[in-house]
Amino acid sequence: MSAALGPERPQVVAHAQQALSYTVFDCKWVPRSARLLCLGSAARGTGVVQLYELHGARLELLREIEKPKPIKCGTFGATSLQQRYLATGDFDGNLNIWNLEAPEIPVYSVKGHKEIINSIDGVGGLGIGEGAPEIVTGSRDGTVKVWDPRQNDTPVANMEPVQGESKRDCWTVAFGNAYNQEERVVCAGYDNGDIKLFDLKTMSLRWETNIKNGVCSVEFDRKDINMNKLVATSLEGKFHVFDMRTQHPTKGFASVSEKAQKSTIWQVRHLPQNRDIFMTSGGSGSLHLWKYEYPAQRSKKDSEGSEMGVAGSLSLLQNVTLSTQPISSLDWSPDKKGLCVCGAFDQTVRVLIVTKLNKI
């Protein structure tokens, strides 16, 4: 693992920060703007949504919305660019889609799960990819449900434990492989180290594995292409990068793993403008910027003649420690390369700029 040389290394510049009076669980850029959203839980047990605008080196609060239940996660992934509705999952298991111009009544609402929705993802919106807009939620009740905003009350797909099986918490979900109207996969990570890949076209389990540590975050490098790479981060400072192009019948997908920090790696986010660069955020308040290098040959034949993937290598481009508390959420701006926002458990949201990404 080698770091990029000297003065050409990308630098992480702290651009602006804002102290908040609540615990922030998720922060997201509003697409096509310099505005960002912070979602969280106030001390009195209510949910908070704050909309900020970036003005020079400070964040200006535009709107503050309070909701009855604390909000854990949100996504813009399933709405159109005109509407820009926010889908949120809250501590009570409710999935709501809000129009931020008129946030009193949700556009769509369903009590999707019996327990907190830990993670949410959306696909099919924002002019990216094709197919129906869908939202997937993963919850502590062990189920992963896929929702279509046009269909009320029932999910279009439900991945639940077999009858009688004791459930494991689902900690993270991600969409992928949405390169045409029919194909979709959902990847879910659980607290017992299981990673499961569900194919929504065939409505079946396509692949599963166990990475020996609870899975904190999974993300495909791009949602709207033939699935290329999947990064899964876990407790104990480890993360795995799976090469998803070649699936071996028994061995599954090839992977390379890295142990970077001693603490939990809370999030992984790929740079929207370059799918081989991603940032991981850690429980020690640090951010690591990584680059994946492909191997000379991405697949090879094994002894029986079936195709087997070959994993590449990782190099650490930069790392920086911003806080003493875990950085629990991270989002790259889809419009400006290198601009990202991160929210940490020290009740601060920070806007960072990563420089020199063009030279990689």
Binding site: V13, H15, L54, Q82, E165, M203, L205, L235, E236, K336
Partner: protein, 424 residues
């Protein structure tokens, strides 16, 4: 009694006195010379020279030169005046004493002052060095900060530019849309209504071509093409459920690699405990409360052994072992019973098990270990495995060398072995 040096010679000028003191063969070092304002002493045992000077001198600047068998003093007078004589003439003993003491005190004080001054200069030097290094480091840090600031400002400017671009872009688009709306709203609305009727059937192939035709318009048609696209989206998926199996995990907490060994140990212990309880439940439901206590059973066993009921004792010990398999004393006592019952192999097994449980070997379990070794040794001998028996007896002796019985038995066995060796 010191030998006084009296053959000194001196001369003076207005400001200085020059004194020459021959040393009569003695070797002088600076340590032998003591000088204060009005008192001069040279002491090279056994020689001594002392002088109470006529008037005070400046002792810091005065010098003494040692060489050629004499000391040459250059004393600078405090007040330039001609002295009548080198020393004060009428000096009685008391005055001498006082002067001497004062002189010594003064010298001490001076020495103290000098050390103080030295310390202060040392500290100041250190401070200066520290400040210099701090300045250097500050400069370095500032340089790095400046670089970072420059980078930051560059990036901030770019960001502002981009933001303004976005804003302008948005304004332009919205204006365009408004304009387009006013101009083209009527005919397009017509077309749209037609298309709505046709697109109720979600037919993928034809919908795509229709999409292309609308895309042919320029940007001002964007909203409308978007709306059309929305209606051309595939219907929501047919609902389905996928059943999921999880990798089994006993604990409700998340899996952490570093905790796995601890968890295994805990589970193992739980399994052990459960095994014992289970065996209890199945066979011993009809027993009384006290009969489930291993200690009570051990006592019962001991009593039966004392009365000669060896089988009964074995039963009692068996039950106790089932309840708690980790008490070495149970195995020890059962071994003794087996010996009496001539179940020699069982006796050996039990003594071995007892010894296993009696690790680590500490003074506390000495007695128990001795007994175990002796019993096992006896069993071996009764099986005619004399060498093994001897080994056990010697082990017992090692633990407790003072036991005469063991020694006697060990001797007997040795004779037996030698006897068999000779005869074979």
């Amino acid at each position: 009694m010191p030998v006084w040096l009296r053959e000194h010679s001196w001369r003076q000028t207005l400001s200085a006195v020059y004194l020459s003191l021959p040393l009569r063969g003695a070797r002088a070092t600076p340590a032998n010379i003591f000088c204060s304002e009005q008192y001069l002493k040279v002491s090279i045992p056994p020689f001594l020279f002392e002088a109470i000077l006529y008037a005070p001198i400046d002792d810091t600047n005065s010098t003494a030169k040692i060489g050629n068998g004499n000391i040459f003093f250059t004393l600078y007078k405090k007040e330039p005046a001609m002295w009548d004589s080198l020393t004060l003439a009428n000096a009685d003993k008391e005055k001498l004493q006082d002067l001497r003491e004062n002189a010594v005190l003064k010298a001490h004080e001076k020495a103290k002052e000098e050390t103080e001054a030295k310390k202060i200069t040392k500290q100041e030097n250190k401070k200066y060095a520290l400040e210099a290094t701090m300045k250097l480091e500050e400069a370095e840090r500032k340089r790095i900060e400046d670089l970072k600031e420059k980078e930051r400002q560059k990036v901030t400017k770019e960001l502002e530019l981009w933001k303004n671009q976005q804003k302008d872009g948005d304004k332009y688009k919205s204006m365009q849309k408004k304009g387009a709306l006013h101009e083209e709203i009527e005919p397009l609305k017509q077309r749209k209504n037609e298309k709505i009727n046709k697109t109720q059937i979600p037919n993928e192939g034809t919908s795509k071509t229709r999409l292309k035709s609308t895309k042919g318009c320029d940007g001002s048609c964007s909203i409308f093409s978007q709306n059309l696209k929305e209606e051309l989206l595939p219907a929501p998926r047919a609902a389905a459920t996928i059943k999921v199996n999880f990798t089994p995990r006993v604990f409700p907490t998340a899996l952490r690699e570093s905790r796995v060994p601890e968890e295994e140990e805990w589970l193992h212990k739980q399994a052990e405990a459960r095994r014992i309880i289970n065996s209890d439940l199945s066979e011993l439901e009809d027993l009384k409360e006290e009969e489930k206590n291993p200690d009570w059973l051990k006592d019962k066993g001991n009593k039966m052994f004392a009365m000669g009921d060896y089988l009964g004792a074995v039963n009692a010990y068996n039950l106790a072992v089932k309840l708690n398999s980790k008490l070495p004393v149970l195995y020890l006592n059962r071994a003794a019973c087996h010996l009496k019952l001539r179940n020699l192999h069982k006796a050996i097994e039990d003594s071995s098990k007892a010894l296993e449980l009696l690790t680590p070997p500490v003074p506390d379990n000495e007695n128990a270990r001795v007994k175990a070794h002796v019993r096992r040794g006896t069993a071996f001998c009764q099986l005619e495995l004399y060498t093994e028996g001897l080994q056990d007896y010697e082990a017992a002796l090692k633990i407790d060398p003072r036991n005469k019985n063991i020694e006697k038995d060990a001797e007997k066995i040795r004779h037996l072995i030698q006897g068999t060796v000779q005869s074979s």
